[in-house]
Symmetry: C2
Subunit: 576 residues, 2 copies
């Protein structure tokens, strides 16, 4: 079983590569089978009901539970087996985030149990077993991720790989299931609005709307069924987050890591007040807009159009601000010339790929809107706002991705340490005049230190110092003896480092602002503001059914993008 662990570092061993392909193919098949069951349920396939799908999911969760228990026991008894940790994986704020979502998911599960008890006459038992299993699964999985998200598994690889990939795809299937339920709910609401607005000509069939029997306790029923749909967005985020964390764990299996110290960079509110104020303003206004939108939309034609106009104008304003902030941040990066860290790092690679990949979801929707506006025969006034909105959505994600990916690839700032080193070295040389020009040379050229060059400078200073002869012996005494020289050099430092500090502060503020903006923009689609439905233009051009399919496929990625970019921006804020 541990055949592969003794192989040389350069060439991987056969069993390990084999286990990788074996397990990934197993996972894909698991997922595809589940996907088809979900699809069959969605299209009301003959002979396939929701309980079939739920049974499949329950089985998968049960297997994962067993595997996690086995892993936890094994790692308790044999602590020596897992020594390496990936410092980049499973950051603390990620764990906190997943715990928050998990808690809300548990509330959702209890609502579902309550709903099942109320309608137990006409629901299949699987609908009761599912939330219970899911709650157990959630609790154990969060515990597992807290303890083991950073693990780099080196032993008994095959069984580990299968277990982890099983967990990844189980969570992805649960995500798919959540997304589908949510989409059906949104579509039903949209159809109800269409009925209210008098579009009876579209063949409207409400899908899985309500059970066929009466509720036993009427007041609780409506709370449960309403509450469930407000909690779903968090459940969806929980599963996709768990899935990505587990995927990083899977990619890390059998990896060789170089141990380089990672700076712990806790989040600080200090110095990002401006960004926070702007961001919170956006957040508040977005929540207000969403509430007004959800109340107004579908009431009457005029009210719907007003709600849409308000939504578009607000979004255009926010997106334009975000674009500006992103461009400013990129310009600041262009002024500096810091090299990028391209070392192997599965967590970061996944982050970058997910950003671009999931942005594609909303780009698809935006291109659909643009095409619809260009090709439509009639243009009600409010539809014109859709054009700048769609264009800005594309540009904003384009710029933001550039900013985030460059930020997470920049090498950690070592300027402060290096300045200290330089100061000690230069002060010890004991000659102010000869040193001042070299200072200027360093700090005029670039605001923060180029890591590639600094060691050279330091070493050359050391060489110079050593050639001075006795200078090396009276280091401590010199430091105390020449206060004039010291204050002069410190002044020079402070003026230079204050420029760097200013840039850093601007970047931190931008990251904080963008973080809050992304959180804000997550809210409207997650809680049912879907101008892509209500706008009506795309539905006329592409047809009702095709456009609904496109929206339902692309929207989950678009929603996930916002949460994921918010998480990445939080990291950027901490790192800057």
């Amino acid at each position: 079983m541990e055949k592969g662990s003794g192989s040389p570092a350069a060439g991987g061993s056969c069993p390990q590569k084999n286990a990788e392909i074996l397990s990934s193919q197993y996972g894909i098949n698991l997922f595809l089978a589940g996907l088809l069951l979900t699809f069959a349920w969605a299209v009301h396939a003959v002979g396939i009901s929701k309980s079939h799908l739920l049974s499949y999911l329950i089985t998968l969760m049960f297997i994962q539970l067993l595997w996690m228990l086995w892993y936890l026991c094994r790692s308790c008894t044999q602590r020596r087996l897992i020594r390496d940790k990936d410092t980049h994986a499973g950051a603390r704020w990620l764990k906190c985030g997943i715990t928050l979502f998990a808690v809300i998911t548990l509330i959702l599960d209890s609502f579902k149990v309550g709903y099942y008890i109320d309608f137990s006459n006409c629901l299949s038992p699987t609908e009761g077993i599912f939330p219970v299993t899911h709650a157990a699964h959630t609790i154990l999985q969060v515990y597992f991720l807290w303890c083991h998200a950073k693990d780099i598994i080196q032993s008994f690889k095959t069984l580990e790989r299968f277990g982890v990939i099983h967990s990844v795809f189980t969570n992805l299937l649960l995500w798919t299931n959540g997304v589908l339920t949510e989409s059906k709910h949104q579509l039903n609401e949209h159809k109800e609005r269409l009925i209210t607005l008098g579009f009876g000509n579209i063949t409207i069939v409400l899908d899985d709307h309500a059970p066929q029997c009466n509720c036993t306790t009427t007041t609780l029923c409506s709370i449960f069924s309403q509450g469930i749909y407000y909690l779903y967005p968090f459940n969806i985020e929980y599963h996709i987050l768990a899935s990505t964390m587990l995927y990083v764990l899977w990619k890390n299996i059998g990896r060789k890591v170089e141990h380089h110290q990672q700076h712990k960079t806790p989040f600080k509110f200090h110095g990002i007040t401006v960004g926070m104020i702007f961001g919170l303003t956006v957040l508040t206004s977005t929540i207000a807009v969403v509430v007004v939108y959800l109340i107004q939309i579908g009431r009457s034609k005029v009210k719907s159009e007003l709600a849409l106009t308000m939504f578009y104008l607000h979004a255009i304003f926010v997106l334009a601000l975000m674009c500006t902030a992103g461009v400013v941040a990129l310009l600041i990066y262009r002024l500096e010339d810091r090299s990028l860290d391209n070392s192997k790092n599965p967590a970061r690679k996944l982050d970058a790929e997910l950003l671009v990949g999931t942005a594609a979801g909303s780009w698809l929707l935006s291109w659909g809107s643009i095409l619809a506006i260009i090709c439509a025969q009639a243009h009600p006034k409010y539809t014109w706002y859709n054009l700048p909105y769609s264009v800005l959505v594309i540009i904003e994600k384009y710029i933001q991705n550039l900013f985030i990916i460059e930020s997470i690839h920049r090498e950690q700032e070592k300027a402060n340490d290096d300045i200290k080193t330089l100061r000690i070295v230069t002060i010890s040389r004991g000659s102010t005049l000869s040193l001042t020009p070299s200072y200027k040379e360093i700090y005029n050229g670039r605001a923060t230190c180029d890591i590639g060059e600094l060691p050279c400078l330091v070493s050359s200073s050391i060489c110079a110092r050593e050639s001075d002869g006795g200078g090396s012996a009276n280091e401590e005494t010199n430091q105390g003896n020449s206060p004039v020289m010291r204050s002069a050099s410190e002044f020079s430092f402070h003026s230079r480092s204050s420029v760097a500090d200013n840039k850093r502060r601007i970047l931190k503020n931008i990251a904080a602002f963008l973080f809050l903006c992304n959180l804000s923009l997550w809210i409207p689609p997650a809680f049912g503001c879907r101008p892509e439905y209500d706008n009506g233009l795309e539905e006329i051009v592409f047809g009702f059914e095709p456009w609904i399919i496109v929206v339902n496929l692309a929207m989950p990625f678009s929603i996930f993008y916002r949460m994921h970019s918010a998480a990445s921006l939080f990291e950027v804020n901490c790192k800057t």
Copy 2:
């Protein structure tokens, strides 16, 4: 522009990473816009016609043409700029393959021009301009790939990146367009069969079937319109191949390569007779089955069922053979203990990802069939053959992927060279008796030499030899002087190396057999044998429309899988 090239090798420079993200996001947006245009055409969106889509494609091809001309001129005048080559990219047989497909694509283009001339009264001019542009595009692109597929571009990176990614996604869009046209054609044929069989209850509308006006020269018209659909599969393969080659070129931009000699391993027919005979038998029988299937299907209910039964039985037999061959090959690999080469290699990484990714397409279809068989209420006898067929499709691809990915990751065989070295060294020791046990130790343990261990053995032999004193001086003389010892050691070598040779011959035969089988299995779906349509069971369970959508989305990947795995197996055959 060349800012990034001076940076240290370990950390990448900002402009390069930036250019990568900038260009990939540009490419994705280009693709998404095209995809939506294609989608709009497919769903008959209001105000969007085929000529809009064709205009978009013509524009993209034209931009690519200009870029390729610029690149060719630039690389002619400034030869010094491109010095590095990726020896793994753009293999000769890949270039030959793409040329073959390109020639057939040119014939297709000429057919399309002929078709346009015949129906010029009622077709838009874009339908005439498109094939002409496409022909020019094809010729220049093939020339470009022949000359520059191995390039590792180090200078003026931003413009290169944009040009290459533009080319990648232009080809992908042309592939999508080809796939859609082909799917529409297949669907029309299927609907015609359904009409013949009397299933009039399904709302059957033939899609883009024939132009609205009469043909000017009737005989040519039918040749053109028939011929076009037989040539489409090659056109589709051409674009996806070109796309993958260009993608590897894109991934290689700015890469640092270690120059290690690659063995040129030309394809030889010698020693793979058994595999070839079996493979050619499968190929012939498959062609026969396809011809009979296409003639019989849709004639009457009985004939259709017979054709389906024949198809399934043949496919089950072939797939079972392929599974067996794959398992044997994997067992042989397990007997050896050779380490894997995990060095950076974009071409190989893409190969492996494409194999697993595109296999998912046919796995999805297979899971659909399995689900349909389990859930269907009525089971005509012939549908039961579908179950082992679908299961075997999944297992066969699972095993074959394992085999191919392990094969392309194995380190090139150096056994022959090492044996020669060993022979010289050991012969020079001048003592037969003391050496024989060490030989046995080496060659009993493992059939081919473990690369990790050999240098050790060789060096220890050298040490031993040097401690012998004068032995090192009379190396040449010893070789000539002790014929008895030499023949003994040679005998020992030959018996050992013949085991290794036998294993190699079996592996080569298996690779050749699987190569021909994959080529064979490419034919039925590419030329319109689609039991997934004709079987009828899935359509009943999932519904006509949903199942057609699934098949049309998954089938192109399934078809591409066969051609791609055939190409990979050809490489495996050459390397083994």
